[in-house]
Symmetry: C2
Subunit: 443 residues, 2 copies
């Protein structure tokens, strides 16, 4: 990646924090992206597209200090513009703007690049793909949607095939209610950001940070007692009910979590693929109910590969109407980089081409009609044009890992039979044009 070729001193490497892939890796990346897009589509999500450039006032309406520092912001004419740093704020604006034209519940997907001018560091990108789905209701949205989301995650990660995974589920009302009952509700944002890191930094460090932000030492045992509840989903729900917390929000959270867990089963997600985890709270403070994280069992270092949750009011900064929603996001660029580092991303080839037609004659009529027939059958096909030795042509197919080559010489044209070579096994067959198409359609 670092072989900078330059002329007039112009650097051609990409900027730090940006990902640019060579063809074989790009093919592997696109395969992941296609599986995600295809799964979202099969669950009836409408793919929308919003501008990458937004008014700064729209993007910063809800943002805090860190976001403001990271944002790419600039002026053009009289406009104060910024590049989007997520897809949720553009969705909120879109729903506000187009609410008359939308049908609710509005199931929308968006797979697009977002921008954050962070200090470049391992696993952090300044330009990266987010792959989001959200289900947005008008005024209300059935809790059944919270149960459907894990079934989509299940379907998706089964197809992505990165080994066993578990979808962790929690409900923020539970901890909000608990904190309220402990008299520390005013510190809830700090507390939840901190306990969200328990897996990463450990209990001692979490205690230290909690004391620093002003949590009284006497309530720490109750917070940790709560966090240490384990067992099966049924055991956890039962422990929560027996905790003796007298708080309505807490009770509502436990009831919602119970209902969601019951319905996830109905949606066909196997028990081993989802579990209640009271330690996950999702740092972002706009989640108000169900929250999700997804971890790959064999690659715990990757962290959550698919996270999200329920929010009461998507677009409160832009409209007085109430739009509750539930959704998830996958940070695809980071996920790809980490799985590649873990060695489980292997591209199949450096081109979509499945067949290279290699003419060894002047007249291109036959080569072109074979290529055309293959393409009509949805088989990506190239004809090698350059007048070079057959060895060079086959080397081209080999380097790109094109699986099949069709050799067409004088003898083949006279006999109306063509040599199909399987580049992996080396096997060659002499076939008619129709037989070639039939044989390759099966692959």
């Amino acid at each position: 990646m670092a072989n900078e070729t330059s002329n007039d001193n112009i650097t051609t490497s990409v900027l730090p924090g940006f990902m640019e892939l060579t063809p074989k890796d790009q093919m592997a990346f696109d395969k992941m992206k296609d599986i995600i897009a295809d799964t979202y589509k099969k669950f009836g999500f409408i793919s929308i597209d919003t501008p990458a450039i937004e008014r700064s006032e729209v993007l910063l309406a809800k943002a805090g200090g860190e976001t403001e520092k990271q944002i790419y912001r600039f002026n053009k004419g009289e406009n104060d513009l910024s590049l989007r740093f997520d897809l949720t704020i553009p969705l909120a604006r879109y729903v506000s703007e187009h609410q008359q034209d939308l049908v609710f519940p509005f199931r929308r997907s968006q797979i697009a690049k977002v921008y954050r001018g962070e200090r470049p560091q391992k696993g952090r990108f300044r330009e990266f793909y987010q792959c989001d789905i959200d289900i947005i209701g008008r005024d209300s949205l059935s809790l059944m949607n919270d149960a459907e989301i894990p079934s989509i995650i299940y379907s998706l990660f089964s197809k992505l095939n990165f080994g066993p995974f578990v979808i962790k589920i929690n409900n923020r009302k539970i901890i909000n209610g608990l904190l309220e009952s402990l008299g520390v509700a005013n510190l809830s944002v700090d507390i939840m950001r901190t306990i969200d890191k328990t897996d990463k930094i450990g209990k001692d460090e979490v205690s230290k940070v909690l004391l620093e932000v002003g949590v009284p030492e006497k309530v720490l045992p109750e917070i940790f007692g709560f966090l240490e509840i384990t067992g099966t989903n049924e055991e956890i729900l039962s422990s929560l009910k027996n905790l003796g917390v007298k708080n309505e929000i807490f009770d509502l959270g436990v009831a919602e979590l119970g209902e969601v867990v019951k319905n996830i089963k109905l949606f066909g997600v196997p028990d081993k693929n989802f579990k209640i985890d009271l330690s996950i709270a999702r740092g972002l403070d706009y989640y108000t109910g169900t929250v999700y994280e997804t971890t790959l069992i064999d690659y715990p270092q990757v962290g959550s590969v698919c996270s999200g949750g329920r929010f009461d009011n998507l677009a409160e900064k832009y409209t007085d109407k109430k739009f509750p929603g539930v959704g998830i996001s996958i940070g695809l660029t980071r996920l790809f980089a980490q799985l590649k580092e873990a060695g489980i991303i292997e591209g199949d080839s450096a081109t979509p081409t499945k067949v290279l037609v290699v003419p060894m004659i002047e007249d291109m009529t036959i080569p072109f009609s074979i290529a055309s027939a293959l393409r009509d059958n949805n088989i990506p096909t190239e004809v090698y044009f350059d007048d070079v030795k057959a060895k060079v042509k086959l080397a081209y197919a080999n380097k790109l890992e094109i699986p099949f080559v069709i050799l067409i010489g004088e003898d083949e044209v006279s006999a109306d039979k063509y040599t199909l070579k399987d580049m992996i096994s080396g096997e060659q067959s002499l076939l008619s044009m129709e037989e070639v198409v039939e044989r390759l359609k099966i692959h």
Copy 2:
């Protein structure tokens, strides 16, 4: 589009010059984009992805004054950054940077957004999709590639189905040679930019502009005599040969054009879909040989819908290596806007969902397993969860134009037969789960 809903005075409309579509239009847009991507793939082009943000020095290495004014440029930390304004310069940088990792001829496609801060006007966008393919050789590239490009355009616009179209072909060496023979080669950039507009502004205006830029009046008849050559492709080639121009570049251009035209036929493009047009010269001065424009016969006001050409040296600003290439670009955002205005874009529905499963019972086991079976057969399916009247559920399907609804009530569950309703014909059938899947697979 202009119904601005606001709170705290935040405008939720998109910025002027940006396109944002509601779901039904977005579906129609994506259908066009998918046909383009699919065609490029079938011809073996590798889809690559480069950052939207580049170093300003990279983007501006070759740019002129107009581009520099339009570019979105900003600083972040110590970096002088800009948003790409086309996909060709990023390709040049990519090829320079990754030349060791690429196999040549390198067939690359890129479908992505580019940015130009132009004064907003009808048909001009500040953010728009370009859909590009280029074939890049190392040191040399066979002229056969110049003939393959029109066969790709032909395949693509046949599938896009916007009525009859014609691919216009020329070779810049012909006019370059002619101008050299007339002693006005030094004015060639101005002359070609001007005559490229003959269709739009007419001959008188072209004459006026040519005189203004310093073309001697005495050579105008020869320029127009040349531009007015018409006839079949064979007649034009023959007229060019008989023009008596004594210039090697001219002769080479005529020979190349003849060769390309002969091979386009071989590639199976019907005569009515391509023709030599000596008036097209493509404004951009980096084309050095074959040039293309494509016009829709029924929509001349749209102008060229797919343009491109041959360039001798793609990456000369970044590397000493020589990379000749040939390619085309489609400005999809503008094309979509204009065809929509012409009334020929009609979305089919506002969702990818083909089947809405409508449970009229509490137990979701059967509804979910039917939805799951349909999705396993690649049929996008939704289940309607909210506990509302059946009328509201059917209204949801109607508004989104979902073609099929499956009604599941107590009776259906007991009989293990479900009501499939065709929402267009209104026809209802009572079918088993397997029959439902079979029936819908055919659609």
